[in-house]
Structures are given as structure tokens and as C-alpha cells.
Amino acid sequence: MLGSPILLDIVTTFHQFNKFLGSDGGSLLKVGFEFLLFMLIAYMTTSQYLKNKNRQIKYLSISFLTLSLVKGITTVFYVGTIFGGLPRVWIDVIIPPIESTFEVIALFLLGVALTYQLLRIKVKNLRERFYAACGTITLGSCLFLTYWIFTFKSRPYELFFHSPQHIIFETVKLIVIGTFVGFILNNREKAIKVEKYAMVIVHALAIYAIPPMLHIINFLFFDGTSIRIRVLANPFPFLAVFLFIRYSYLKMADKASLMDKLDLTEKKYKKIKQVNRLKDEFVSIASHELKTPLTSINLYTSLLADGTLGQVNDKQKDALLTLKGETKRLTNLVNDLLDLSRIQNRKLILKKEAINFHHMVEETLDGFRAQNPQMTISNKVPKELQGLMDQERIRQVLINLVSNSAKFTPDDGVIEVSGRKTARSVIFSVKDNGKGIPKGKLNYLFQKFYQVDPHLAREEGISGLGLGLSIVKGIVDAHQGEITVDSTIDKGTKFTIKLPQERKDNSTPLRSL
């Protein structure tokens, strides 16, 4: 099998190809190819930089532009030597150190670009030390190059690739690449967080480091004479460049898919905005359409009951007052529904102002005292208690809570409103000695339409949609406050509300997406 003629042919072809790669023609092919590939990456990174002036991309772009330039110059000289009869001194002696120097600089910039974001996260003086070290190496290489160019004239004609100077450059390259690879691998998790394709870069750089390693091995163990080793180094730069291209392509593909997602999100956003607008219009229209006939009904019933449209007897007057009462009930339900709609869509606009809380509580309770003459309804809020709140809305909260208490407390019961001020908030509570609420139902209390005992409620003529408490919660939430309830069966219920007093920017409604 090993001796089979086909296999021998393949191996021979491979050897010959490798030998070709070691020759001038092969070098031209290699460097020309590298030039094209680096140009491609340089083009990709530069156009990305021109779009969004990202510093990291800038370094990447400069590094690949440098590499392309250098490989381009080398290609030109190889072409000149092979086809144009240019003296060999250029490609053997002069160009290689220049190429190597710029390669080192480009690798340094590449490393900077890749570790830029990582270093930003790390401690400042570590970053500075790191840059200083790498900068020194690069600067050193440039100085060495200058020295070499000035002294080569006095030296005997020697091939760069057999010279110790070449090995020095290769060592410098290896150190620069190794430092960056080591740094990234050491901070592997951070690197991947910051750059998704950090490992692709690491692989490319590692592969790029193989030729220098092989050249050094060649120099150390074979005195630089092993052609096999020199030739073995040939394919790796290609691989490295291909990996760099893959990295650029992956970044662009990512960007494209991000743009697609962004597009989709934008469309969804527009649609939701439109739906919200329709909801707003609905509330507006419903408000007008429902309240207008109610207004008419109320006005005419009042006019009739007043006697403005003619004398009415007592029975008629009673009937008309009943009508008025029912109209008021309907109006309250409509208001509740609209309030709830606004609260749900977070369209509640609060008008916070400093008010005398005791005064407002007193005014509110007066109404209830008139309707429940036998009940003890007391205002235990300190007379000077001032608070920052939307007066009308908190009045609504009070009315809802007190009317709930009044509903579920016996006629001769006690309702008490108290309040106090702390450093950052106003806390008030509404307490009664009524029926109480079973512990199990406390959790559901603030859900809309929830009624603790709908059958009982209807029996006793207590009505409503069960919206009162969810509106209360909505208003308290809009104030960024808290509401808690404490209740014992047959002993009573206590609602406690805490309203923060810091003037936060809550005068604009929260828009829900």
C-alpha cells in the first residue's frame, strides 16, 4: 500500500511543490497571495472604520494596511528580480529586514487592537506597562533596522535569510505574537465577553507564529541550512491570513444579522405605538360618548326635579331623585372604567402639589358623615400635616377606601383616618371595625373586578364593578408609593398607604412599549 505508485506520485508532487515554494517563484507566489489577502482584510476593516470611527477598528485597519503595503512592495521587487532583471541584492538583503520590521509593527498594532478593549478593563498601570514593553520592542526593531541598513554596505554580500539578523527579527515577531496570544488566553473569559471571536484571532495569531518558530529552530539546530524546515514554514502564513479573513467575515455577518434584528424591532415598535395611540383615542372617544348622554339625562332630571319645567308632586319628585341617583351611579362606573383604562396604559398624569392633608381628609369625610349619621367617622390626622401629592387622585383613594369601609361596617361602627410624616414620606391609614377580609383573599384584593363576596355584596345592595381597589392601587403606584392591608374577621380592616415625598419626575406618564 505504501509503495503504491499513486501514493508515490502524490508525495513526489507535494515535495516538488514544496521545493517550488522555497524558490524565488514560490516566494513570489506566497508574497503575492499574502498581499492580496491582506488587501482584502484591509479594505474590509477600513470601510468599517469609515462607517463608525471605532478606535479598535482603526488599529486593525492600520495594521492590515501596513501589512498590505509591505507585502505589495516585496511583490513588486520579486517581480522585478524574476522578470525584470533587478539585482538580487534587493530581495536577498535589503527588502527582507524592511519587510520584517513593518511586519513586527503591524503585528504590534494588531495586538493592540485586539487587546485594546481588554486592557481598558484592566488596571491602568498594567496597560501602560504593557504598551511600554511592546512599544520598546517595536522601537528597538526599527533602530536595529536602521543600523542594519547603514552597516550592510561594509559587510560582505550575505543572504538575509542565512543571517543572524533574520533570526533576531523572527524572535522579535515571536515575542510580540506570543505576548498577545498569552495575554488573550490569560484573560480568556473577558476576551470572549468583549470580542465574540477572540479565539479565532488567537488561532490566526498562533498559526502566524509558527514560521518564526521554525526559522529559529532551523537556526539553532541546523545552522539555518535545513531547506525542509524552511519550506515547511510556507503554508502557515496562508492559513493565518485565511483565519483573519474568516474573522472579518464573521464580524460582518454578525453586523448584518444585528441590522436585521434592529429592523424587525423597529417595525414591532411602530406597530405597538400605533396600537397605543388607538387605545388613547378609544379612551378619549369613550369618555366623550358615554358622558355626553349622561350629562343630558342628569340635566333634564335635575331641571324636572327642581320644578323649573313645571310643578311636580312629591311622588314625581321622589321618582326623579331616584333617577338622579341611578345616573350618578352610572357616571361613577364610567369614570372608574376610564380611570382604570388610563392606569393600565400608564397614562395617568399626576399633578403633585403640597397640600394640607388634614384639611383634605376633613372635607372628604364630611360627605360620608352626612350619609352615615350614626357612624363615628373620625379624622385623626395632625392638623399641620402637609404632603406632596395629587390632591384629586388621593381624594379619590380616600373616597374609595372610606366608602368600602362604610359598606362593610355596621351602621353604628367606627371609621378612622390617621396620618403621620416620616423623613421621606407621608403615611396614612383608613381603619374600620367592620366585617374584615379573610386572610386568603387579601392577595387578590387589588385585582380588578375582584369582590370579596359578590353574592353578599349583591344581597346587601352593595354594588360596583369591583374596580375601586385596583384604581386605588394604580394611583398609589403612580405616586411610587406602597399600600398594605391588615384585616381580621369581624374585628376590622386597616389600609395603610405610604407616599414618598421626594419630588421625582413623575409628572410625565410612563409610556409602555
Binding site: H288, K291, T295, S296, N298, L299, L303, T308, T327, K351
Partner: protein, 123 residues
């Protein structure tokens, strides 16, 4: 003989307009209009002491009409009462911004309307 104050009611809902006339007719000379533009011509013609404006109206809503009245020097002494449905809390602020003197919210009692108009005239 003292002349009664002149009043223009601009309200597109006819039942409500009529009811408002019934409420205010005993004390004031009431003129009716049923949309914003008609309202404007009536106001310019009559030069009333008080205007009762509904907010939501066809052809010109209450705010625009209010603004127009305020921009006209001939109507400098005219008081404006706006009737809102309280669908947006900022209606009140908006109305005041446009130069209304007071507002009343639907639904209201006859006495409330009378009270607001009286107040606005006595200021």
C-alpha cells in the same frame, strides 16, 4: 332698566345646549350655536359678556375658539367658561393656557353651571 348680561352657548349636543339655555335663560340673554364656526360668528355678532364653550366640537374645537376669542381685542371683556368631559386631566390646564376663565366638568348639576357663570361675571 338694567340689561341682562349677554351669553353665548357653543355646544354641539342639542339636548345639552337646550338644557343649558333652560338653566341660564332666566338670568341672562342666551344665544345658541352648535359648532365652532357658527359659535365664532355668533360671538362676534352678539359681543357677549360670557361664553360657555364645549371642548369637543366639529369645525373648530373649544380650545381653538377660546384662543380666537382671546386674540380678538373687541372681545377683551368676554369671560370664557369651558365645559370638559374630564377625559384627560390636562384638559383643565390646557383650557387655562388658552385663556379660559373657568371650567366645569361633565356631568354637572344645573346649580353648578349657574354658580360658575355667576362667579366668572362677578370677578
Amino acid at each position: 332698566m338694567t340689561t341682562r348680561p349677554k351669553l353665548v352657548i357653543v355646544e354641539d349636543e342639542k339636548p345639552i345646549a337646550k338644557a343649558e339655555e333652560l338653566i341660564l335663560g332666566d338670568h341672562y340673554d342666551v344665544h345658541l350655536a352648535h359648532d365652532g364656526e357658527q359659535g365664532w360668528s355668533k360671538i362676534v355678532e352678539v359681543r357677549p359678556d360670557v361664553v360657555v364653550l364645549d371642548v369637543m366640537m366639529p369645525k373648530m374645537n373649544g380650545f381653538e375658539l377660546c384662543k380666537r376669542i382671546r386674540e380678538d381685542d373687541r372681545l377683551a371683556t368676554t369671560k370664557i367658561v369651558m365645559v370638559t368631559a374630564k377625559n384627560q386631566d390636562k384638559d383643565e390646564a390646557k383650557g387655562m393656557d388658552f385663556g379660559a376663565d373657568d371650567y366645569i366638568m361633565k356631568p354637572f348639576e344645573p346649580v353648578e353651571l349657574l354658580h360658575v357663570v355667576r362667579q366668572v361675571l362677578n370677578e
